[in-house]
């Protein structure tokens, strides 16, 4: 069993889901609550990675993160390191690529909360923050769960962007799905089969837990 790749993939998926969650909650809450009409444009931008080919995202990210790209130059200045072909690089790529998977379920979750409950909490003298944590958040737990689970599961299976930005470096950027690609190329079908079964199993368990916990419709 390719434990190197399993550990790396788990670390990438947990980090992506965790970090993205921090940014996605306030953003999704704002989108769900605002009456600003331009928000459809923002929502379309957020949804872009759903339809963009991973190679397009990978290409732009590689250019931006490379030593000659604006982002890569600043990063190199600050840390002396390089983003492409490093764990930090594929983490940033996978965060960007997963934005819709994190934000959209959250927006759906927040929108499903009865506005009258929020207004009531405010009239009872609770501040915005207290209302958010004691009313909105607990009532939209399904959206929160779906957001985390989808981001995690989607990162596990991400291939194109990780291959383009990360190369294929054992222990650093060779995730489980890339290890499978490698194993098939070297005709090591037994190893490919083992890794593929792991991903299949995890994907099923994750979706099953989500369905059991959610019962009601999935917010994507």
């Amino acid at each position: 069993m390719d434990w190197d790749a399993i550990a790396l993939t788990t670390r990438l998926a947990l980090s992506t889901a965790g970090i993205l969650f921090l940014f996605a909650v306030p953003l999704a809450h704002w989108i769900a609550m605002t009456k600003w009409r331009g928000k459809t444009v923002l929502e379309a931008i957020i949804a872009l990675p759903l339809v963009l080919p991973p190679t397009v995202v990978g290409f732009y990210l590689l250019m931006a993160m490379g030593p000659n790209g604006p982002f890569g130059a600043v990063y190199h200045e600050l840390t002396g390191g390089m983003l492409p072909f490093s764990f930090g690089g594929i983490l940033i790529a996978s965060i960007i690529f997963n934005v819709p998977f994190a934000v959209r379920p959250l927006v759906a979750g927040f929108e499903s909360v009865d506005r009258r409950l929020i207004d009531m909490s405010r009239t009872l003298g609770n501040g915005r923050l207290k209302t958010f944590f004691t009313v909105t958040l607990p009532l939209s737990w399904q959206g929160l769960l779906a957001s985390l689970v989808l981001t995690f599961a989607h990162t596990l299976g991400e291939f194109g962007v990780v291959l383009m930005v990360g190369g294929n470096i054992p222990g650093t950027t060779r995730t489980l799905s890339i290890a499978i690609y490698d194993n098939v190329q070297s005709m090591n079908y037994a190893a490919a089969n083992r890794s593929a079964l792991v991903l299949l199993g995890v994907a099923f368990v994750v979706m099953w837990i989500t369905t059991v916990l959610g019962r009601r419709r999935m917010p994507v």
Binding site: S15, I19, M187
Partner: protein, 285 residues
């Protein structure tokens, strides 16, 4: 009632989320290749002194280099070698963009030369380790008589797809294309070509039956997983430009000394013997 359960679940859930974040912060995202490699090296008997050499290798080396690396490990257990296989052209562009490899083993010596010219490597570390050969390969039982008919077998109407490596960035693909042109069959077959991303994927295309025949590296045709599954016809060496394979140690190598040891072993008697057994032509022999 229902709401209090939901609220409790939500709190539990937020707790989990907090845990995930905490673990993220602890694990950190700045860990570079070396940290990850150190963490993975727990099986090594002497972790503190283990040095890690990362190699970007052309995929025609897949089986030969695995064998060389395994033998090298018994000679010098303090050095752990990690190899990524791919197409030389892709590695070239990745290395030009700062990919953190110590050694580059290219299927075309032009790429390491260019890296040296661009300042990514010292040209004094450039070495020419072998010349590659290409063969026309067909699975046994396919009915395609590559041994008897040679390249003319490609004209056979039963053949659907012909696999070669992508000539844009795989040296073996360029050799295959050149050979088909110089032997006069290219125009007849060009609409039936399928392109592998590198030569190992090309071999997998025909090994799995997805393509009917293909032009692949002799070193892969001689690999254990393909040897007994098909027949091949060696394409005459004068039908394509010489596949001079060269390697280089990158300037940003973390372990230049250990990398040099690996290179010396590969170019030494033991390494040459393995390369020869996979059908590589050793320079000067």
């Amino acid at each position: 009632m229902i709401h209090s359960i939901l609220a409790r679940l939500a709190r539990l859930f937020l707790g989990c989320a907090a845990l995930v974040l905490l673990s993220t912060i602890i694990v950190g995202c700045g860990g570079d290749a070396r940290d990850a490699a150190d963490g993975a090296a727990t099986t090594s008997p002497d972790t503190a002194a283990t040095r890690h050499v990362t190699v970007a290798a052309a995929s025609d080396l897949k089986f030969a280099l695995d064998e060389i690396v395994a033998a090298f490990r018994t000679v010098d257990p303090s050095i752990e070698v990690k190899v990524s296989y791919g197409s030389s052209g892709n590695f070239f562009s990745q290395l030009s963009n700062g990919a953190p490899f110590d050694v580059f083993l290219s299927a075309d010596i032009v790429y390491p030369r260019k890296l040296a010219a661009a300042g990514h490597a010292d040209s004094s570390s450039l070495f020419h380790y072998a010349d590659g050969q290409i063969v026309l390969w067909a699975p046994s039982g396919s009915g395609v008589d590559v041994k008897g008919k040679g390249i003319e077998a490609l004209r056979s109407p039963e053949i659907g797809k012909i696999a070669i490596a992508n000539p844009e960035h795989a040296p073996y693909g360029r050799a295959a294309e050149a050979a088909m042109k110089s032997l006069g069959v290219y125009d007849a077959v060009k609409d039936r070509l399928v392109l592998g991303e590198n030569i190992a994927q090309t071999a997998q295309f025909i090994e799995s039956g997805a393509a009917d025949v293909g032009i692949i590296a002799l070193s892969l045709a001689m690999a254990p997983s393909m040897r007994d599954k098909g027949t091949y016809w060696p394409v005459p060496l004068d039908a394509y430009p010489r596949l001079e394979q060269g390697g280089i140690i990158l300037s940003r190598a973390h372990e230049p000394e250990a990398a040099a040891k690996l290179v010396a072993y590969m170019s030494g008697a033991d390494g040459r013997r393995v390369l020869r057994s996979y059908g590589f032509i050793i320079p000067g022999e």
